[in-house]
Amino acid sequence: MSTRTVEFDDIQGLLRFGYKHQTQASFLLLQVKEREAARAWLASVPVSSAITADPPPDTALQLALSRDGLQALGVADDIVNAFSPEFVSGLGRDASQSRRLGDVGANAPEHWQWGAGQRVPHVLVMLYALPGRLAAFQQAVEAQVASAFDILLRLPTSDMDGIEPFGFVDGISQPRLDWERTRAVRDQEQAAYDNLSCLGEYLLGYPNEYGGFTDRPLLDPQRDPQALLPRAEDRPAEADLGRNGSYLVLRQLRQDVHGFWQFVNAQVGGDAAQRERLAAAMVGRTRQGVPVVTSNGDADAGKDLNAFDYQADTQGVRCPLGAHVRRANPRNADLPSGGPGLVSWLKRTLGFDAQARERDRVASTRFHRMLRRGREYGAAVSIDQALSGTGSASDTGLHFICLGASLARQFEFVQSAWLASTRFDGLRNESDPLLGTREPTADGSPTNEFSMPQPGGPDRRVCGLPQFVTVLGGAYFFLPGIRALRYLASTRSQGSP
C-alpha cells in the first residue's frame, strides 16, 4: 500500500478548518424538489476545499447529504447501502438508537422540530462568511437553489466570540490530524495518550488508528467512466466514493441558560466564587477554559489549555470523573501505565495488576475522538441575566456538529457509552452533568445526581439536577469529497452500470 499524499483540493475545508475568521454562519436544510435541477446545482456549486487561502476567503460553502438526500437524487440503492449502517438507518428513526443516545423524554424524536418524520433534510448547506458578508451570500445561494430545492429550515447561528451559551470557552480541545501522514499505519498498542490522530479516523478512505478502513462505498470503475473518483487506497482496483469525505452529525441542542445558572446558584446558596467552582467542576474546565484538573480554578494565562490528562487524578478529586470534558475525552492510553519491563506489561495485559485494573474501566480513547465544528445560536445571556431571569426569551443553544469516519465508534459511542452512561467509570446515579436527560433508569434508579470526590470522606453529591440541554433536531450526513459530490450529482450514479 503506497502512502499517497493528501488531496487537499478534494477535501471540504471544514475537515481542516473551523472557519474561525468567518464568524458568521448559517446552515440551510434542504429537500430535493426537482431532481434534475438539484443534480445540476450540485454538479457545479463552488465548494471550498481544504487548501489554505491567505487572506481567508470572504465566504465558504460546505455541503453534506443525508441518506434521504442520496435517495432523492436517485443514487443507486447498492451505493447508498454501502455507507455505514448508522448512516443508512439515520438518526431519530429507530427506538433502540434513541434509547442508546438518550433521545428519550423531552429529547425524543417525536418532539423534534426537524430531523424526524417528514422533516428529514436531504442536503445540508453550511455557509460561512467574514463579518458582514453573510446576508448577501446567503441570499445568492438561496436564489440558486430555489427551483431545485425546498428550504426545510434555516438554522442561523450567532457569533458568541468562542463562548458557548452557558458561558464557557468552547472549541479548545480538538484532535490533531496527521495531515503529513507520518503516523505509522499499523495496529500497535499505544502506551500514552496522544492528541495526534490518523487521518482515517476522520476522513474516509484513509487508514485509521487500527490500520483499517471504515465503511464507505467502493465501486467498480466501470460505474465511473469519467474517472471522477479517486481509486481506493486499500483496493486500487476500485473507485472510492468515500475518499476525502466524512460522516457529519448535526444536532440542534437547546440550552437552558437560566435553568443552568439558577440551579448552580441555588446549590451554593448564592456564593459567586463557589458558583463558578461548581459550574467548572461540571464542565471540567473553568469558564476561561482552564482544565480544573490542573488548577484550582484560577486562570493560568499563557498556558497550553490542552496539555493535560487525568493520570494523576485517578479518583477524580480534582476533576470529577463525571465532568463533561472528562466523559467526552478521558485522555487515556490503550493500557494503564505501569512499571517498565515485560513482566509489568504482562501483568497489566492479563489483568493481574490490581492498581492498573482500577484505572482500566475506560481505555483506548484514541478510537473515540471527533472533530467538533458546532456553532452557537440564539441570543447570548449573561450570568447576571440568567440569575435574575431576564434577557432574551428566544431559544439559545448549540448547533452541535462533529465529523468522523465511524458514526458508531465515535459520535454514538461517546454519546451513549460515555456521556449518557449512568455507569461511566464506575459512577452511579448520574449521567453527563450538562447533557443528561435525568430520566430514571429502567429499575427506577435516579440519574439526576453529580458526584465530586473529596480528598477525605464520601463524595460530595449534588442531587436533583434538572435537564439543561434538549435535543430539538438532528441528522446524519455524508460530507463528500468534492469529486465524489460531482459524481453523485452526475447521472452515472443511478442504477446499475
Binding site: P85, V88, S89, D94, A95, S96, Q97, R99, R100, D187, Y210, G212, F213, T214, D215, Q315, D334, R348, T349, L350, G351, R357, D360, R361, A363, S364, F367, H368, A408, R409, E412, F413, S416, A417, S421, T422, R423, G426, R428, T441, A442, D443, G444, S445, P453, Q454, P455, G456, G457, P458, D459, R460, R461
Partner: protein, 425 residues
C-alpha cells in the same frame, strides 16, 4: 445448558409463548406466569434462546457438505450451589410452565418426567467463566440494600481528621446494627464451601497440568508440525464477514441497553477438520482451567464487565454456542473485546468458520475492527427471554458493595483504609 430440538411446526407457537414471559422486549418479567424466575432465590441469570441453522450457509461458501440441523431451544442459567438442586427447585416451583415450554420440543409428551427429560437434554459446558466465584445472589441483594442505607445516611461534609473518619465508621456500624436488629437489613454470613467442592477443585487444579505434563513431550516433538498446520490454515482459511442484514441487526438492538447489563448469545460452526476440532477443544479446556483457578475474583484478563460467560459445543462438536452477561452497551463490550482482549478472543474464535484472519493464533483477527464487528453481529442470535436477578446493579456495584460490607465489619482498619472506605459510599 439444555438443548432440545423443536417438534415440527411448533416454532411459531413457542416464540409466541416466550414473548408472554417478557416485561420489555427480551427481558423477562421476574414473576411471569410461565417461569417465575424470581422465586428461585439462587438464580443469577437465565435465558431461553431459539437457535437455528441459518449460518450453516457458510459451509456452502466453503464448498463443504452442509448437514441440515434442527432448530433447537436452549435454556440455561447461572446459579449458586449445585445446578441439579436448583433445577429440581425450578421443576418443583414451575413444573407446569416448563411443561408448556418443552411441549414444543421433540419427544416431550404429557407423561414425560420434566426433571429427567431436562437432565437428559443437558449438554456439558466446555468452559465457563464466573466473575466472582462464590458471590451469591443473596449476598448481592443484601449488600446492595446495605449500600443504599449507608450511602443515604452518611454525612457528606468534608472529613478533616482521622478521628472524624473513625467516628463516622463507628456511627454507621451502630446504625447498621440497629437496622439488622430491627429486621430491616440482613447480612447473612457466607456459607462455607462444601468439602466435596473443594476436593473437586483441587483435583481439577492438579489434573489438568498433570495431563499437560504427560502430553508435553509429544507436543514438543510435534510442535513443528503443529505450527505448520496452524500457519498454513491461518493463511488460507476464508474470511466470511459480510455485513449483517439491517433487519437482523435491528432485532438484536431492540433487546439491548434496557438495563445496565446486557446479554449476548452467539453461535458458529467450528472449522472443518480434526486439527481445528482438537485445537479448540484443548484451548477451551485451558480457558476453563484459567477461569476456575485464576480468573475468579472480578476480572477475565482486562475485562471487568462480564458476569458470567460460557462456551458449549453442540451438534457433535461441529458448532459452538457462546453466551455472556455483561455490563454496558454492546458497542462498549465489542470495543473492550477489540482493545483489551483481542488475543483471547482469537485463541478460541479463530477456530470458527469465517473469523477474520489471525496470525499465530492471537494476532490480527478481532483487531480487524470492521470485519470483527460484522462477524460478531452476524453470528449473534436474539435472546428471546433473559432474566437477571438484580436489575440496575453492575459488577462495579457488586464489588464496591462487597468492599463496603467488608469494611463495615472490620474494626481494625488503618486511618487510610477508613478514609478509602468512606469514599466507597
Amino acid at each position: 445448558m439444555l438443548v432440545a430440538p423443536l417438534a415440527a411446526g411448533r416454532e411459531a407457537s413457542l416464540r409466541a409463548l416466550l414473548v408472554t414471559m417478557n416485561a420489555t422486549p427480551g427481558t423477562a418479567d421476574p414473576c411471569n406466569a410461565v417461569l417465575p424466575f424470581a422465586a428461585i432465590e439462587r438464580l443469577h441469570f437465565a435465558r431461553l434462546v431459539v437457535l437455528d441453522d441459518a449460518l450453516q450457509v457458510d459451509l456452502d461458501t466453503l464448498g463443504i457438505p452442509r448437514p441440515r440441523l434442527p432448530t433447537v431451544l436452549s435454556f440455561m442459567g447461572d446459579c449458586d450451589g449445585p445446578a441439579h438442586e436448583v433445577l429440581a427447585e425450578l421443576v418443583q416451583r414451575a413444573g407446569e410452565g416448563l411443561r408448556r415450554i418443552f411441549a414444543h420440543c421433540e419427544g416431550f409428551g404429557a407423561e414425560t418426567d420434566v426433571l429427567a427429560w431436562m437432565q437428559a437434554h443437558d449438554r456439558p459446558i466446555a468452559a465457563s467463566y464466573v466473575n466472582w466465584v462464590g458471590r451469591t445472589v443473596r449476598q448481592i441483594k443484601e449488600e446492595s440494600a446495605l449500600q443504599r442505607v449507608l450511602s443515604a445516611s452518611v454525612s457528606r461534609a468534608p472529613v478533616n481528621s482521622a478521628e472524624q473518619a473513625r467516628a463516622l465508621h463507628a456511627g454507621l456500624r451502630d446504625l447498621v446494627n440497629g437496622e439488622v436488629r430491627a429486621g430491616r437489613l440482613r447480612l447473612t454470613p457466607p456459607e462455607p464451601t462444601p468439602l466435596a467442592w473443594q476436593v473437586a477443585k483441587i483435583a481439577h487444579l492438579l489434573a489438568v497440568p498433570l495431563v499437560g505434563l504427560l502430553a508435553l513431550p509429544f507436543l514438543i516433538v510435534l510442535s513443528p508440525l503443529l505450527v505448520y498446520l496452524l500457519r498454513t490454515r491461518e493463511s488460507s482459511d476464508p474470511e466470511i464477514c459480510p455485513r449483517p442484514q439491517a433487519s437482523a441487526l435491528a432485532e438484536l438492538q431492540v433487546l439491548e441497553d434496557i438495563d445496565v447489563s446486557n446479554q449476548y448469545t452467539a453461535i458458529g460452526a467450528v472449522k472443518p477438520g480434526l486439527f481445528r476440532r482438537w485445537l479448540v477443544s484443548a484451548l477451551l479446556v485451558l480457558i476453563d482451567y484459567a477461569c476456575r483457578h485464576v480468573f475468579t475474583c472480578g476480572f477475565l484478563a482486562r475485562v471487568q464487565t462480564i458476569h458470567f460467560a460460557r462456551w458449549v459445543f453442540i451438534d457433535d462438536k461441529t458448532r459452538v454456542v457462546f453466551t455472556s452477561n455483561y455490563d454496558g452497551s454492546h458497542q462498549g463490550y465489542m470495543d473492550d473485546f477489540i482493545n483489551k482482549v483481542a488475543w483471547g478472543l482469537n485463541l478460541v474464535f479463530s477456530n470458527g468458520v469465517g473469523w477474520p484472519r489471525t496470525r499465530w493464533l492471537i494476532l490480527g483477527g478481532a483487531r480487524i475492527e470492521q470485519d470483527f464487528k460484522r462477524y460478531q453481529r452476524r453470528h449473534q442470535v436474539p435472546t428471546q427471554v433473559w432474566y437477571k436477578a438484580y436489575p440496575g446493579l453492575s459488577l462495579h456495584d457488586l464489588t464496591r458493595n462487597q468492599r463496603i460490607r467488608e469494611g463495615l465489619e472490620n474494626t481494625q482498619m488503618s486511618d487510610a483504609q477508613t478514609l478509602a472506605w468512606l469514599r466507597l459510599l
